[in-house]
């Protein structure tokens, strides 16, 4: 059976990690294709419900990444995000949701190599954890348009 290819959705901040991912591109650092990046102005903008809905959408793993503390373009967006993540991760863990599947990181605009490494490690870890069927079986999930129409 072909090796399990995890579906991973990444919520990243525009000023640091998205630009860092751009640098990964300009430096041509190859990495796994499993991650789809969603750009938001700041980690402060990442609502906990987005992470929850990502799993509802059939994601096997979620990456959340933004500016290092003190480097936020908006001064404190990442500090608020960090507090939110501390509480949300603990709640999910308390309810038995597999918090290991949400990977949090700080990646600056100068860390192209680190972004590639975060992606590769995430894919390796999520592949080891296998598909998140436990969550997918909670309710019937409509297949994405692309899987039905564009193979």
């Amino acid at each position: 059976m072909a090796e399990f290819e995890p579906k991973i959705i990444a919520f990243v901040c525009n000023w640091c990690t998205y630009t860092g991912a751009d640098l990964t591109g300009t430096s041509r650092i190859k990495h796994a294709t499993n991650v789809r990046i969603i750009r938001l102005p700041c980690t402060g903008r990442i609502d906990f419900m987005l992470l929850m809905k990502a799993f509802a959408r059939g994601a096997d793993g979620v990456i959340v990444s933004g500016c290092h503390p003190n480097d936020c373009h908006y001064t404190s967006g990442n500090f608020h995000a960090r507090r939110r993540w501390i509480l949300f991760r603990s709640l999910l863990n308390f309810m038995g949701v597999d918090a290991r599947r949400i990977i949090f990181s700080w990646v600056s605009a100068a860390e192209g190599a680190k972004w590639a490494e975060v992606v590769n490690t995430a894919v390796k870890e999520i592949r080891a954890l296998g598909p998140y069927d436990e969550y997918k079986n909670l309710a019937p999930i409509r297949a994405s348009w692309r899987t039905e129409h564009a193979g």
């Binding site: 751009d22 969603i38 809905k53 908006y74 404190s76 692309r146 193979g151």
Partner: protein, 663 residues
């Protein structure tokens, strides 16, 4: 039903090398709501943009997705093209299938499928986009220049000559920066004081420029065009209006044994001092950490001798608030300190000095008034060894980069030494000579051929002192690979150029990003070298990377032109990516519950509570309201608001949700 156009770019073959662009375009044509889906070799080219404009007009598109490079690259380009075709620019989104897809994956079906996902999710997002209109914001036509070196001086003069007000803040008692410490400058050997001092005087006398020396940036708030800046003017203990600059106090001051920072510790200065003769402003400063009055409470000699009674011991630091429209960062660089070279004995042997110290020795206004003398015993050195790349290009010292200016000033130093001590022997240990500027290579050749400077290609491993001579152990990798030893009288290290101390704190105060070496980060290394990622803050000179004077001056003028462009319009159009608290029909007026939990979360204090009145003027409800002038669109309040009463234009809940659900 949406009428969306998808334009897939090949980017030459940067994308099409690993992504089947035609396949992506074909797949997108089958997405409900997409009425036009094509691929083309260069979407950002003129024909490419014309394709988009024509498609908008012919097919009456109400949404455009350009799948090509990063939005950081060409989002403005395509949004402008859409605006020209009559489509609201904020109905145009970019899918990054180059940096985030084609460049980082091998050619495979998975890569194309990922590209399809990336484009499809932007199509779903565009369906939820709303037309947005730029926010007009007034611009304060005053620029703040941080740093009084040649970069700050050039930028300030250019902006002032463009007719705008400038506030210059310099940390040390006088402007001039490192250039004022130099003796002559390459490649023409003209004396740095002669070309710099007139500019310094021009700054001091320019009607448009307000100069604050011995001052630092205390804090900065606001945003492009509307910065609120607080400057801390440190107490000089001298009343600048009364002081005539006669210098009597500096000569009469009893404490004279303080190593002068301007002379890099070689010369001495008094407790009340003017850094150098041509200082601008030529007003002394009391060094409170050394002045006996401040240490022991007695002396006051300077007050007694001062003819105009200008001494103010009780002068307090002053905080000055200024409204600023644009900021130019010109805080310059520093040289690597002594503690990094134990193998060269720097700091242990007084005759092992660094480049700036040699500049002071060679300078007419220096401690030896231009005569080349050894700091240890004041004798004239017969042999000087210059060591290039001292700390630069050295991973072990944590400085892998090349400091760019050392090859040139080392050749200059050797030349100055030979001009003053004809019989002297000058050796230069180098790895590679980097003389890429105009007339640079000829300058170095002249040092080698006419002034007989012996260039040895090799590294110096150790320097030790024996019978008063400095034994320089090195290797000559060109002539027979032998180890060589030179008995030198003086050694000059061309030490690495590093960021100024305090650069990191300044960057964090201004929310400007910086690289691992604490040099400030430019918006784009090639296309936007004088701008930072923070709108309204520009860069000039060596605070961004080691740089010589010609480049610094041209970059300063570049930054000045950016400021002049910003100040050319009376008001500024700002991206409408801001948060808005919803307002709906009565009786609810807004879903906001008035809990005000978002108010403290806003880093820009942009949220206040508004009293909503009904038609009879009775206050019906208190709901949050966001000041479009202050909001920067970070979205923290949007994610915080449990009732989803706040939404972020450009990244609204519906847009991000649609983007997520398309995956």
């Amino acid at each position: 039903m949406s009428r969306i156009g998808v334009f897939v770019c090949h980017c030459g073959e940067n994308i099409s090398a690993t992504v089947d662009c035609a396949g992506v375009a074909e797949a997108m044509s089958r997405v409900p709501g997409v009425v036009h889906s094509v691929d083309y070799k260069y979407m950002c080219s003129d024909p490419g943009q014309t394709m988009i404009k024509d498609a908008i007009k012919e097919k009456k598109l109400d949404g455009v997705v350009v799948s090509a490079c990063s939005p950081h690259m060409h989002e403005p380009t395509f949004r402008r093209a859409c605006a020209e075709a009559g489509l609201n620019p904020y109905l145009c989104e970019m899918a990054n299938i180059r940096e985030h897809c084609s460049w980082v994956h091998e050619k495979s079906e998975a890569t194309t499928l990922k590209a399809i996902d990336l484009v499809h999710k932007m199509v779903e997002k565009v369906k939820k986009n709303q037309p947005l209109y730029s926010i007009k914001v007034p611009v304060t036509k005053t620029a703040l220049v941080l740093g009084g070196g040649i970069a700050g001086i050039q930028a300030a003069l250019d902006i002032a000559n463009a007719g705008h007000k400038v506030v210059m803040v310099e940390r040390s008692p006088s402007i001039g920066g490192h250039m004022s410490q130099l003796s002559e400058t390459f490649p023409t050997l003209d004396c740095s004081q002669c070309i710099l001092t007139p500019r310094m005087v021009e700054v001091a006398q320019h009607p448009n420029i307000t100069l604050y020396t011995y001052s630092e940036l205390e804090s900065m708030d606001g945003f492009i065009g509307n910065f609120k800046v607080r400057i801390r003017k440190k107490a000089r203990c001298v009343d600048e209006k009364l002081c005539t600059g006669c210098g009597l106090c500096t000569t009469k001051c009893p404490t004279k044994k303080i190593p002068s920072e301007f002379n890099e510790g070689l010369g001495m200065r008094s407790a009340i001092y003017v850094p150098f003769p041509q200082a601008v402003p030529n007003k002394p400063v009391i060094d409170k950490t050394q002045c006996t009055f401040f240490l022991k409470g007695k002396c006051k000699v300077c007050e007694k001798v001062c003819p105009t009674k200008a001494i103010r011991y009780d002068q307090e630091d002053e905080i000055i608030e200024v409204d600023i429209g644009a900021i130019v960062l010109a805080t310059g660089f520093n040289v690597l300190g002594a503690e990094h070279f134990p193998e060269y004995g720097y700091g242990r042997y007084r005759d092992v000095i660094q480049g700036l110290q040699f500049e002071r020795i060679a300078s007419a206004s220096g401690p030896t008034s231009g005569a080349i003398r050894r700091p240890s015993d004041g004798t004239e050195p017969e042999t000087i060894v210059f060591i290039a790349c001292a700390g630069s290009r050295d991973e072990a010292k944590g400085i892998p980069y090349c400091s760019k200016i050392c090859c040139m000033y080392t050749a200059k130093h050797a030349m100055l030494y030979k001009h003053k001590v004809h019989h002297g022997k000058a050796y230069v240990f180098y790895m590679d000579i980097r003389a890429g500027g105009k007339m640079y290579e000829e300058f170095v050749r002249r040092a080698i051929e006419e002034d007989d400077v012996k260039y040895i290609r090799g590294r110096v491993s150790r320097i030790y002192e024996e019978d008063g001579k400095l034994i320089v152990k090195g290797a000559d990798t060109l002539l027979g690979h032998q180890a060589i030893e030179i008995r030198a009288d003086m050694v000059v290290l061309a030490s690495a150029a590093v960021a100024n101390d305090g650069a990191e704190e300044l960057a964090q105060k201004l929310h400007v990003s910086y690289d691992p070496y604490h040099f400030f980060a430019e918006a784009h290394p090639k296309l936007r070298p004088v701008e930072t990622n923070t709108a309204g803050i520009f860069l000039a000179g060596a605070c961004q990377a080691p740089r010589d004077i010609p480049e610094t001056v041209s970059q300063a003028s570049g930054a000045a032109s950016k400021v002049a462009a910003l100040f050319s319009q009376s008001e500024l159009t700002r991206e409408p990516v801001i948060a808005v608290v919803n307002r709906i029909a009565p009786p609810l007026y807004s879903t906001c519950t008035g809990c005000a939990l978002c108010v403290p979360a806003c880093p820009y204090q942009a949220i206040e509570m508004e009293e909503i009145k009904n038609r009879d003027g009775v206050v019906v409800k208190r709901a949050a309201k966001i000041n479009p002038g202050l909001c920067q669109g970070c979205g923290t309040c949007v994610a915080l608001c449990r009732v989803k009463a706040i939404d972020l234009q450009g990244f609204s809940n519906e847009q991000v949700f649609a983007e997520l659900m398309a995956l």
